[in-house]
Structure formats: structure tokens, C-alpha cells
Amino acid sequence: MLKVFWRILTRDLLLAMRRRTDVLTTLFFFLIVVSLFPLGVGTERQVLRVLGPGVAWVAALLASMLALERLFAADYEDGTLEQMLLTAQPLALLVLAKVTAHWLLTGLPLVLIAPLVGMQYHLSDTAIGMMMLALLLGTPVLSLIGAIGAALTLGLRGGGILLSLLILPLYIPVLVYGAGAVEVSAVEVADAQPYLMLLSAFLLSSLVLAPLAASAALRISIE
């Protein structure tokens, strides 16, 4: 089973690497959104410091969601997805592999680019560190829950916007605790521990449950 997981993972990464622009577009979208906020709310240092974590998280949500359409779309169009449904391998495993690839291409770059955001919003070093950790725990959850939405809206016209409408309410707990962790760490780092615990809890439960829901959704979408 591990071999199957690895094959799907490497296949998806290879396919994505052949179209590097897709990956980079998501990243630049994140950067642009993050850069727009100071232009809108003013560049006062204190305001930006308060807003920074929240803005970074919302931008991460949006960027993650934009990339979700591509999770299943390419395979759906050329029939590979149908073949995946027909194999003897558990579909949840294949979905998990695809979601892992998706996270490596969209979530992980956001984690790595967080210091840049921190610099733009004048965040302290501890805040930046906490933001990276929170993003590291939270972005996989975004990919996992997003996979459910992507599977439900497979092949629909207007799919992107519909996907956002469906998935954004479900992202709220991650947003609340992810942004909260950074905010609280500014006062006292140890206070962020319950937040990180909750984020890890979300990660673990969605690792188990989201692939199952997404495979059920895939079977519904492709009948």
C-alpha cells in the first residue's frame, strides 16, 4: 500500500513540475493578496502588526482554495480518475496521496514564504516562528478538507467560486486557531500551546476522516 501511495505522490509531483507555472501562480497570488492589505488599511506599524497573522491566514485560505480545482480536474478530464476508482486499492489512500502532493506544492511553499509576510507586517521573530508552525499544522487541513469540496464540484461550470462557497465555512476553525496562535504568542509564547494542540487535533482527525469523505464524494461525482 505504501508503494501505491508513493507512486501516486511522485506521479502528481512530476506532473506538477512539468507545469511549474501553476504552482508559482498560487504562491504569487498569496503574496499579492498579502501585499494588498497594507495598501487598503494603511501602513501604520501597530495596525499591521495586529492584522498580520489574520491577513496571512486568510490569504493562505484563498490561495489554497484556488489551487484545489486542479486537484482532481486533470485526472478527471483524461479518465485517469475513473481508473483510480476502479482499482483494488482503497480510494482513500489514493486521495490521501493526491492531497499530500497538493499540499507539498501549495501549502508548504506558503509555510516557507511566511517570513516574507512577517517582514511586510513588522512581525516579531517569535511571531514569525509561530506563524510558520501554525501554517505547517494548518495548511494540510486546508488541503484535506478542500479535497472534499473539490471532489463534490468536479467538472462543474463555475466550480471555483462554488468550491469557495462550500469550503470556506469549514475552514473557520483552522483560521480561528491558526491566527489566534500567532496573536497570543506575541504576549506569551506558552499561551499558544493549546492553539497548537487544537490545530494538531484538526490535522489528525482530518487525516483520517477527510480522505474517506473525499472518496465518497468522488464516487458520487463519477458514476
Partner: protein, 256 residues
């Protein structure tokens, strides 16, 4: 374990039954609402609360709270029918879930709307990011998402099942979302709504709220069944019995 009730799982059998029940539900709804509103306006104290009482405007509670209760209850009922549809593969269950969704959305909107008008005199603001308000807003988005997903998919069977799955996922997430909003700082939790509780409310006020809730519930039955009949006619339009119903209701000489 067969039961004589199972025959109503067929849209053709349920359609006339619903038609007979709808007027009863409207009557019950009107009755309960009249009792509830009369009681609420004339038999309850003029003020609510001990230390800093709210004056006459508190009476909006008789619409606001029942609407909020119904919005949550209807979501659960909707998910229930969606789950039954997925498990037993019954068309009518999915149709019922679709019929409930708009009523649920309307109650959610009503709760938010009346809540805003209540908030203005009592809290000084139309809106606050209080946990219950925010959760109600999220519930509204869940309803809208259900309706949007269903209408976005052309194939009815796929639409039904996809929306049903979405509703179930939503129900699983609702407690998580509620608790994350209710307790944004796990180190300490506090909220505006928190000091209210059913135990310490005046008996008359509670009675009125319950009457209005029952009235809204009967109303939900009436509207859901009415909408359900429309959905049945639309979906089953190729069948003989629908053609008979439609041609019987259309006068001679007019093309159906």
C-alpha cells in the same frame, strides 16, 4: 420489517397525502402563532432582565429565538433525510431534503435579521462577532452552499447525493465551528450571549416562545410539503400519474 407506512416512500403515494396534510399544518401554524404572539404581547412582563432590564423591545425574542431554534432543527432534519436518501437510495428523501433547505435558510436569515434589530437597542450595535451570531451566520452559509451545490449540478441523482454528502459534512463540522468561535482563546472563553439561559426566564415568556416555536414548526411542515409537492411534480413529470394530475388541473382548451 415491512410496515404499511413504507408505501409513502413513493412520490406518487406521498403527493396526495401531503396535499391533504398541508391545510391542517397551516391551521395549526396559525393557531400556535396567534396564541404565542397574544401571550407574548399581553401576558408577559414589560421588562426583561434584573439588573439592567430591557424594555418593551425585548419582545422580539418571541420571533428571534424560535427562528434560531428552527434554523438549527431544520438543518438536522435536512441532514437526516439526506442520510436516509444516501443509505436507502430513496428519491423522495432527497426531494424532502431539498424542500426543507429554503425554509431553513429563511429561518436562519430571520434569526439574524431580528437579532440585528434587537441588538441595536440592547447592545448598542447591529452586529457583533459574538459566537452565537457568527455560528448562525455560518449556518446560513451552509444552507446556501447546499442549495447552490444542488442547483449547480444538472444530473439530478448526482446533485442529490453530492448535496447530501455536503450537508452531512456540514453537520459534522457545525459543533467544531461553533466551539472554535465560542472559544477563540482556549486559555479563557467569554461571550456576549453567555449569560442568557432558559432556566431563569419568566414562565410566561417561555410559554410564548414555545408556542411560537410550535407555530414555526407547523409552518415549516406546511411550506416544506408544499415545496415538496412542486418538486415531485417537476421531477416525475414524465410519469403517467403526473400527466393525469396536470391535465386534470388544466381546463380544456388550454395547452398544459
Amino acid at each position: 420489517m415491512p410496515s404499511p407506512w413504507f408505501k409513502y416512500a413513493s412520490p406518487a403515494a406521498f403527493y396526495p397525502l401531503a396535499g391533504r396534510l398541508i391545510p391542517i399544518f397551516w391551521l395549526l401554524a396559525a393557531g400556535f402563532l396567534l396564541i404565542g404572539l397574544y401571550w407574548g404581547f399581553f401576558e408577559t412582563p414589560d421588562q426583561l432582565g434584573g439588573t439592567n432590564p430591557q424594555k418593551e423591545y425585548y419582545r422580539i425574542i418571541f420571533i428571534h429565538v424560535p427562528a434560531a431554534w428552527m434554523s438549527m432543527w431544520l438543518y438536522i432534519v435536512m441532514v437526516g433525510w439526506a442520510a436516509i436518501g444516501l443509505v436507502f437510495n430513496t428519491r423522495l428523501s432527497f426531494m424532502m431534503a431539498n424542500a426543507i433547505a429554503p425554509t431553513g435558510a429563511i429561518f436562519t436569515f430571520l434569526a439574524l435579521w431580528t437579532g440585528a434589530f434587537w441588538g441595536r437597542p440592547s447592545w448598542g450595535t447591529y452586529w457583533d462577532w459574538d459566537p452565537r451570531l457568527t455560528s448562525e451566520l455560518i449556518l446560513f452559509f451552509l444552507y446556501v452552499g447546499y442549495i447552490a451545490l444542488h442547483s449547480a449540478i444538472d444530473d439530478t441523482r448526482r446533485a442529490d447525493r453530492a448535496a447530501a454528502l455536503l450537508a452531512i459534512v456540514g453537520l459534522v463540522m457545525v459543533p467544531v465551528i461553533f466551539w472554535s468561535i465560542n472559544c477563540p482563546d482556549p486559555n479563557q472563553c467569554a461571550a456576549l450571549h453567555q449569560r442568557s439561559g432558559l432556566g431563569r426566564i419568566d414562565g410566561n415568556i417561555l410559554f410564548s416562545m414555545l408556542m411560537v416555536t410550535l407555530g414555526f414548526w407547523m409552518y415549516s411542515f406546511a411550506t416544506a410539503f408544499t415545496r415538496l409537492r412542486g418538486i415531485i411534480l417537476t421531477r416525475e413529470r414524465e410519469t403517467q400519474w403526473v400527466q393525469a394530475v396536470v391535465s386534470a388541473e388544466v381546463p380544456a382548451g388550454v395547452r398544459p
